[in-house]
């Protein structure tokens, strides 16, 4: 689907906008798809010293253009990497505190940033069984999270059917109270805007709008009431450089269909 500008698809917008959140020198734990692509984009443009970790067991990845892996567990993930190690061990780096930011896609999210990738309906007899947590729960439990996902009402729900990967749980201090003292939701990047979480209530908050999008549009595509930053900035549209590099990395639109 093309956005208004027709210069880029919604997926491309998502990739560019989330790439901009990653800073040079950070350590990012990236999932497959838009996160992997956005992290690689950041690494090629403004953050050459970005260290990318994959759940399959890679530290300091440097994925080759046009050679995107089907998951983060194949040899393509390790090409020109600094280190390859066991998947338990790379996940333990999260627990040890080595990772600055976790970066994943999401199927369903709620107002406190909880993610569901397990069940639609009741776990005992779900209407849809989803693929499950993978490392999602571990990443979301142990480090600061960026989530990139399409902004649709059925995906942005008041309360997820099942908390696969914890955000701020019931808001306020509830995350810390269950024993999750590190990490938490940092940003949600969508094709409509950039969202964060209110410092005390932990409710989802619109921080910026993408070009041509209104706050009302964002709310209309969200299944719960959003907080909105006063004086809402508008993001810069994807630059030609960003789009060119993105398409160089994913020429077959494997992740950006």
């Amino acid at each position: 689907m093309m956005t208004d500008s027709a210069r880029y698809t919604a997926s491309e917008l998502l990739a560019v906008m989330s790439a901009r959140l990653l800073q040079d020198g950070q350590v990012v734990f990236a999932g497959v798809g838009i996160p992997l692509l956005a992290a690689s984009l950041a690494q090629r443009l403004h953050a050459p010293g970005l260290t990318i970790l994959f759940e399959g067991g890679t530290i300091g990845a440097y994925v080759e253009p046009g050679q995107l892996p089907p998951s983060t567990n194949e040899q393509r993930c390790t090409r020109r990497a600094n280190m390859v190690l066991g998947s338990t061990d790379v996940l333990l780096l999260l627990q040890r505190g080595y990772v600055d930011v976790g970066f994943m896609g999401g199927a369903q999210i709620d107002q406190y940033g909880n993610l569901n990738s397990s069940y639609i309906g009741l776990p005992e007899r779900p209407t849809t069984r989803l693929p499950g947590t993978g490392g999602g729960n571990d990443i979301a439990s142990l480090t600061q999270m960026i989530v990139a996902m399409k902004h649709e009402k059925r995906r942005f729900v008041e309360r997820v059917d099942f908390v696969t990967s914890p955000g701020f749980l019931a808001g306020g201090n509830s995350r810390r109270e269950v024993g999750l003292s590190a990490g938490g939701m940092f940003r949600v990047v969508t094709d409509l805007g950039l969202l964060g979480f209110d410092e005390s209530s932990k409710r989802m908050t619109v921080l910026a709008l993408h070009p041509g999008v209104t706050a009302a549009e964002v709310q209309a595509n969200t299944g719960f009431e959003l907080l909105v930053l006063s004086d809402l900035p508008v993001t810069d549209p994807p630059s030609n450089d960003e789009l060119a590099m993105l398409r160089h990395l994913d020429p077959d639109h494997l992740y950006t269909a």
């Binding site: 890679t58 998947s87 069984r129 499950g132 947590t133 729960n137 908390v163 995350r175 999750l180």
Partner: protein, 334 residues
Amino acid sequence: MRIRLRLARPCNQLRGSVTLSYDDLCRRTRERDRSLREKVMSLDEAAALVPDGASIGIGGSTLSRTPLAMVWALIRAGRRDLVCARGISSSEGELLFASGASRHLITSWFSLGIVWGVSRIMRAYTETGRARFEEWSHLAMGLRFRAGAMGLPFLPMRSMLGSDVLTQLPDARVIDCPFTGEKLVLVPALNPDFALIHVQRCDAYGNAQIDGLPFMDLDLALAANRVILTTERIVSNDQIRRRPDQTKIPFLAVDAVIEVPFGCAPHECYGAYEPLFDHLNHYAAALKPDAEQGIRDYLARYFYEPASWTDYLDRIGLAELIDAARRGKSIYDD
């Protein structure tokens, strides 16, 4: 008909993970022949070691170093009620469910991967209650194997707290740390009856070298009560002894060694071949119109009909094997 009958026993009451007492764990290990001896056999002979109902740890992850030849042999041998465990599961899980070899998979993620979408077989079997997908976090799976490898009843961890994943897992416990007072989850050891692991090379005794991503295989090998190794090639013990620091699985944990070139196809084996993308597309397409009929036809053509593993590979096609091997070896190119 046969599958329907089995529904009388709900799949969520299948024997799951049991924490062995230390006496039982040690007794099982003591009874194994851990001596330096040749263990080379055929896929069929290895399949005959595994009884119905056994618990099985499956090596590799997603599309990587999956011990597919051994899964193939177990399905052909008509195994039933295997309780399978793997860090992340993919098409091998679909084939285990659809063949009736397993109705219980313990894993963190079960689907086909970003390119092919959500597994329709996983959905069909779990949503109707015909099979169980027991979900632990990826780290929890890894620590369960690691606890098993370390001879411990559990390991502590800091994720899963506060999530609904944890509420579905009566086998995990939450404690207050006796040192810091912090909340911790204790996950129970997983000591499967068998581990199926594919490696790039090993000797006839089972000393195995693994290139690239090791996933959870080193822990799995030591956690399991028996290890069945498939290998791209068998090398001499002399070659192993020249670089003992490259041995990743010790022979004393291994019970069977089977030389199976392209033993992960259509999945990948690091440095040897990449995934056979065309065949995976073909498989996904075959399941598109009617997933259950599609996978039955696929099982017939690729699992039950071939006379041998080589015949299976031949049905996949030489061109793809050559291409996958070229791509696989390219990981070592500058």
